[in-house]
Every structure is written in structure tokens, then in C-alpha cells.
Amino acid sequence: MRNVLPVTIVVAALCALWYVGALFMNAQLQHDFFANAGNTSYSYGDFAAAELNMDRPKLPAPHQIVSELDRSIFQIEPSSKRSLVYHASITLQETLLGFVIGSGLGILLAVLVVHLAGLDKSLMPWIVASQTIPIIALAPMIVVILNQFDITGVLPKAVIAAYLSFFPVTVGMVKGLRSPDPLQLDLMRTYSATRWQTFFKLRAPASAPFFFASMKVAVAAALVGAVVAEVTKSEDGGLGARLLAGSYYGQTVQIWAALFAAAFCSAALVGLIGLIDRATARRMGYAS
């Protein structure tokens, strides 16, 4: 609980900074509004209050985003297309499916790279190269190509999410599966253990800390991938589609609310994995 104070201070400082930024960035816009309306006699207080409550500010104030989140999460039916719950559930579906595909593929690749001599040199460069292509360039192509095979709906977007999430898993798990020290490996050799036994009784459990660290990065990356995919293919909805719609109509408050919703989803998923991580670590005797 002694973390409460520093956390509160940081949050308060960020909010204060944000309000200053909002006042600064929206000043010109608000000034023009008042000028157009012929309103010339206003106090600094009136001006600031108006500035922080504009319909389409350049930078919305925190309380505007909070009230937009409240409206679009709690006040609107979750089945409505104007509800963030509706869009977030679409994004989460794609994220989770992509995360499962991506981490599965990532683990498989890591197991292959660790066990098959030569794959480290022949396959790893391609895996690294795959991540140098901007996903925003690749996403439309993946959608088009999969569409050719009549694959539509959630799956193409999950594939894009998987494309981003397999990489940290492969890199982390290769490191994790190689983490047993030579003595621990020699021990298995003295028992004439098979590769499978060495894998399940040594390499896999030794990689657990790396596994959970990779999973956290992968699930966050999967969500980014899903949002990017939704921007590419916005007719199906999702937080990405919500972002795109917001930017079409200059609805900055809506954009920021969708952004925060995505961040909360991501944080919740990472937090969930963190909980499983801690429970597993306790069972494995790492935590006291």
C-alpha cells in the first residue's frame, strides 16, 4: 500500500499537465469560436471553461474523455453500434484468437529453432525480417489474400494480430528453452533422458519466467494488431473502426475514449497474465 502515494502523485501530475496542454492547444480554436459568435466580453474563467468543454477540441480534457467513456460504456445498450462495449468485445475476440494463434506459432517456432540444428541460422533471420515490415502496410494485403480463400470476419484480423504477437514469443521462448545451465543438461544426459524428457522435465519448466514475459508482450502486440486490422477493414466494427470513424468526423473525444478503452483492454489482459504468472511462480517455488 505504500505505493499509493507515488502513484497518486504521478497520475495527478499527468492530469495537470494534460489540462495545461488542453488549454494551450484549444485556445486558438475557442478564440475563433467566440469571435465568430460576436462574443467579445468574456472573462479568463469563461474562456477556459468553454475551452475545456468544446464539442470537437484539438485535445479533449480528461473529464470529457471520462464522461464519454461513461456514456458509451454504461449509458448505451451494449448491443448498440455506438457502445464501446460492443466494439471492445469485437476487438477482444480478434485479439484473443490472434494471441492464441500467434503464441502457439511462436512456441512451435521456438521449439523447432532450439531442437533442429541449422534452423537458428536459416529461420531466425526470416522471423526477424517479418517484423521489419510495417504492419499498416501488410494488413490490407493479408485481408485481401485471405479474402481470396473466402476467409472473412474475425479470422483475417486475428491473423494480423497473430503476425505481431508470435515474434516476441519466439524470441523469448528460444531464450527460455536455452536457459538451463550446462550442469542441468549434463544431469539429463547422465540419465540417458530422451529429447522429449529433457524438454518436458527441464527446458519447458526452466522457460516459465520467459514464457510469461513473452505472453505479456504478445497479448499487448495482438491488441495493437487487431486495432490496426480494424482500421483497415472498418465495416465490421471494433475499437479500430471506432477510431477511424472518430477521425472522419473530427470526433476527438470519441477517438480518445476508444484509445483509452483499447489501453484498458490491453492492461487488463496483461494484468490477467501477470496473475497467472504469479500463481505459477508460487507453485514452482520461485516466490516466497
Binding site: L183, Q184, D186, T190, S192, P205, A206, M284, G285
Partner: protein, 272 residues
Amino acid sequence: MLSPVAKEGRTLAGERVIDVADLSLTFATADGPVQALSHIDLTVERGEFVSFIGPSGCGKTTLLRAIADLEAPTSGAIRVNGMSPSEARAKRAYGYVFQAPALYPWRTVERNIALPLEIMGFDKAEREARVAKGLELVNLSGFGKKFPWQLSGGMQQRASIARALSFDPDLMLMDEPFGALDEIVRDKLNEQLLRLWDVTQKTVLFVTHSIPEAVFLSTRIVVMSPRPGRVHDVIDCGFPRERTLDIRETPEFLEVANRVRQGLREGHSYVD
């Protein structure tokens, strides 16, 4: 080569467990080849406790690892129970105790001891019985549910000895198992190991840096010298099987210790 009596294999003594003939081993390193072992000849009979002593770099660990099929010799021959080291390893002929306990940190002590049993396919009841017996043998009863980090260094090394003994191999290969422990703990473990050897009738090959440890434990001491690693002297120690640390004060003990020390000095040239 074997005497008719030894061929029978009935008597405890006289049966040849280890036969090393003209063994050489060269490591290829970035700085060029390094000869770790040069023309080693050695035989060990069943029930013996043979210590290998020598300065760092004399190849004593390498010799043990070659016998365990963890290193491949460059030339020469090794027979373990009449088999090649790889056959002997496949038959799980030996238990190996490393310099560090090498316990798996995510396994409790009892599950660490059960590890070789799981790999070798012992059923659950048998595993539990053997783990309980092993814990008792090394005085760790009651610590089975602890994780390795909850144990002292000496207890961890005892757990690793119980692990090596769990599948009841006839041969124990021990590579400086007590090297990292303080002298008080080491003395105590030496006594326990001696008793263990007496009770279990194992053949033990034991690598050490310590002269008193070697003299106290062994039936035979192999003094090795470095660059390249070779056998300098083999010294017999005929102390009775039931002995305590007190014998370290006797003239006989000091005489053997002196001979070992002299052997180490002769073999170790500081000129090069």
C-alpha cells in the same frame, strides 16, 4: 585380462568396474588444441573408493566426465562394467554428483530426488518409497517438501547425492561434491559419505582438491599432474572401513597425506 576369480564376478572384490587404457583427450579451443589427458591407465575394482587429486587443470574432472560419457576421448579405451561408456550410460550404470548441486529450482527436494526415477519409468509407489529411503540415507527426512533455495548448501549437496543414489547405481562418480562447502560441513559430510559407502557397497570415483578429504575417504588415491593431465602416482590407503575423523591425527594418516602432498609437489612444476 581378467583373472578366473574376477570372471566369476561372485566375490565383492576383484571384479573390474573401470578399465581405462592409454586414454588421451584433446579439446579443440579457440586458442588451438589443449591436451587435457595424456596416456591415462587405470583400473578400479568393485567396492573401491578411488579419489583423484591434483591441481586445477590436471584433467581429473575431464577423466570423470569421459568415464561418464560426457566427453569423448581422442584416443585410448574406457570400459565401464565391461561396456563402452555410452553403453554404460544408456544402461544407467552410474550416478553422477556434480560440483554444484544442480537441483532444479522449480522442484521440491523430493521431486528432485524422484527426477531420475521419473525418467527411468519407475511407478509412483516405487518412486515414493525410494525417495523416502533416499531422504533418510542423507539425513534429510522432513525436508522433502522444501524447495532447494530453502536449504543450506550442504543440505542441497546431500539432496543431490540422494538423487544420484535413488536409482541404485553400482557406481558413483563424484566431482568435487563438497568443494564449495566450508570445512566444518565438509568434515561432517565426509563422515556421512564414508558411512554411506560402507552401507551401500558402491564403487566410488571421487574428485577432490583436498588432501585430508582424499586420504580420509579413499581406498586408493590417484595423484594427477597438469599440462598435460596424467597420472603421477597411485597411493594405497589401507584404513579400516569403520573409521572416524579421529584417524586424521594418527601417524599412518599423516604419512599417507605426506606422500600425497609430495606427489602433488613433484607433479606440479611452477617453472613453465
